[in-house]
Amino acid sequence: MRWWVAVAWIEHLLKEGQKSVDEVEVFIVNGTSVSADLKKKKINLATRSVDCGLGIRTIHKGRIGSSSTNNPDQWEECLNAAIASGKLATPQEWRGLPEPEPLPTAPISFDASLSIEPPVVLDLIEKMLEGANKHQADVTAGSASLSSATITLANSHGVLYTNHYSGVSLSLEAIRGQSTGYEFDHSCFLDNVDPVATGQKATFFAAESENGKDIATGEYDILLSPIAYGELLGNVFIPALSGRNVHAGRSRLAQSLGKSVADPAIMMYDDPLLKKANGSVHWDAEGTPARRIDFIRDGILETFAYDLKTAYRFGKTSTSSAIRGGFGGLPSIGHHNFIVDGKRNTVSDERVLYIHNVVGAHTANPMSGDFSVEISNAFWMQGGEYETPIRSAMLTGNVFDMHHEIIGLSKESRAIGSMILPSVKINKQRIIGK
């Protein structure tokens, strides 16, 4: 769809909606992607997708309605469904959708030179396989994909923002005997992904983890890779920072503002304006100008995340934390680039149990933070070197409590989805051997 064509019907939609409701907002996504999937070392499937959809939100006397469709021609039906939906919603305190602001229009997370075409995907796959050849393990599956999307947000106060995104993502799985390895990379810029390293790490972990040794049940200092740490952080800790969960009584951090919730060396913040980062935006999913939010400074909890709805209801201010998973549904509270930071040092000089990944983090108790997960690609590590692999064991503990036991952050960080995380060394965590 051409942009100027879109504007005409957006204006029509907003005007039509205002005949029935106080405010109207429309969120439109147009995107395309190309990907290829590997079966062993051969490309088995190549896909192109053409995506479009729109989500409408209406607000009338504090009642919020919503609907969505991926047929733009059906916008009137969708608008009527949103208005009808609002009639069912419980009214709440509402102080209006954002007014337009003179925000920068140059996209932050967009690689204008990225060609969404099969040859680019083929090149990425070939480079991953080249990297994979460096270690003795078999490739089982993998994929590379390229995408771009245009997001338009408009509301009846005159907001009309548009933004462009791009994405490159890679993954490779490998096996040697009964030892598996998995690696991935993603960025909004083609130059920022390293397909050779992705392939090389996948086969490295499969090969290096073979012939693992047992570990006795007990307490050990552990080093969680950014992947393993991200699993626990994303499933338990970050949801507890959502203002909605806090005010609903679903967050263990609800009573902890101004208190210590992590080791004093730890900082956690959301920086939506970070250049070239995957989640960077100038405005959040409901048009609030994006800004940095410092959740935790020196281990002290300073704030929670809010969107407009939760902020208005509880007398707070939006922290520009509204996100959308797609065009459908209402915006919800999330983050853009969630960063864990603090004093960096070498974390693997002394002998430590390195855990590359965990199995089953989504089964953790998101309220209490208690978890027990299987560990994957775990090694005894010393002097920065991988030593003996661990065959199988469980890691059990509490995600909130373990943040007080953090004793080091690695010098390097990496992007895990919309999180940017270091490896995290943690004092005395419980391992259950088999």
Binding site: N44, A46, S179, R252, G328, L330, H362, N365, T396, K434
Partner: protein, 443 residues
Amino acid sequence: MPGIQYYDLRHVTGQVTHIDIDNGVVESAGTSFFNKAVIRVLNKTGWGVIQIDNFSPCSGKKFEALLESAGRLARITREKVVLGQVPRGILPVPPMKEDPREVSIEEKSSLLSEIEMAARHPLVVNRRANFIEKIEQVRFTDSSANEYSYEMCRSGFNILAVASRNGNIQMGYEREHSIHGFNLRHRQPMGKKAADVAASLLDAGTAKGGKMRAVLDPELAGVFAHEAVGHASEGDLIHEGNSVLKGKTGQKIGNDNLTIVDDPGILEFGFDPVDAEGVAVRRTEIIRKGIINAFLHNRETLSSVGNGDAGHARAMPGEPPLVRMSNTFIEAGDSTQKEIFEECRDGIFLKGSRGGQVDPGRGIFQFNAEYGYLIKNGECTTMVRDVSLSGEILRTLHGISLCGNVRTMSPGYCGKGGQNVPVSDGAPYILLCDAVVGGSGVD
């Protein structure tokens, strides 16, 4: 068309109605619409696939242009694909006892609110109830002139109760999803149960991790079958060499009392009248009397791997089909529940599921119970929380020493390759010896 060996089109339209009630507040309620299609073209070297939002059915030159476009994509593929010969046919979609479309959203909202209100309890600080109803019209056609169409409605609800005391927060969670029609009436007891479980968990202890005997309730034992066996039997993983079950057909990995089945044709939440490649669905006995018997396949893996049944291809609207489970279960045995607890003597009883995950190549799985009880002298005693189990596929199944005589199924969703599909898992009560239990308790 030159170079094209096969094509198919799966077009799904429909609508989703949802209601979200959080502590008495109707946060959102309404209906959204979707229209998605996927076209797959097979040439000599592999698949070219086009996914289209807002698809308009077309024929003649317009459709041929789509096929050509998909065929061009397939030029970068390098794997020769042969499709297996498969049975065709479609099962009737069972009639609904009450069609949700005939119930107004106001009434739905009121009934959901009653369930949510039933979760009130002095220790419960938050109640959240969600209703979801998804109606899909599916149309399938392929280059072999197979054509199927059907309409399915899946609806159901979840109720979450969160109890809190002195900084201790625990949750109780109940859900019911169905293909048999509207199911919000007379479900207040489920709200109360969620609240009672959440409140009880405030006083529950933590399990001491380690090896022990475990009794699994039907819901958790069903997840065990799904995670420990189901995924590793998926033909695509076998083909890729990413499953410990590869090459193990005929090998005994469990006791004679253990039979594990996947059957898309039974009328549970994972029911498919026909699979996503237009193949007739059928029962596949993955493990028969403890022996690895058959794998789950789509047409491609049936041909490349063999040993098993096609009819297990499933897809979200607009997505290419993958080999998936549907209704997966451990067949009932002949033990009574009393016999199972008596045989366990001292161990742990695990109830409900918070989900699980498997690394099929490594043969390691993990899954989590909602709560449990310590068993002493065959009797349930102290309640425990946050208990998970992990194990190795090829070793653990031998540990299933008893299977109960009544099987029940539980609905859920399963994720793979970025696609979530409705499934059900089930089992009788089972006794699992040498279970590796994860819990944070210590002596």
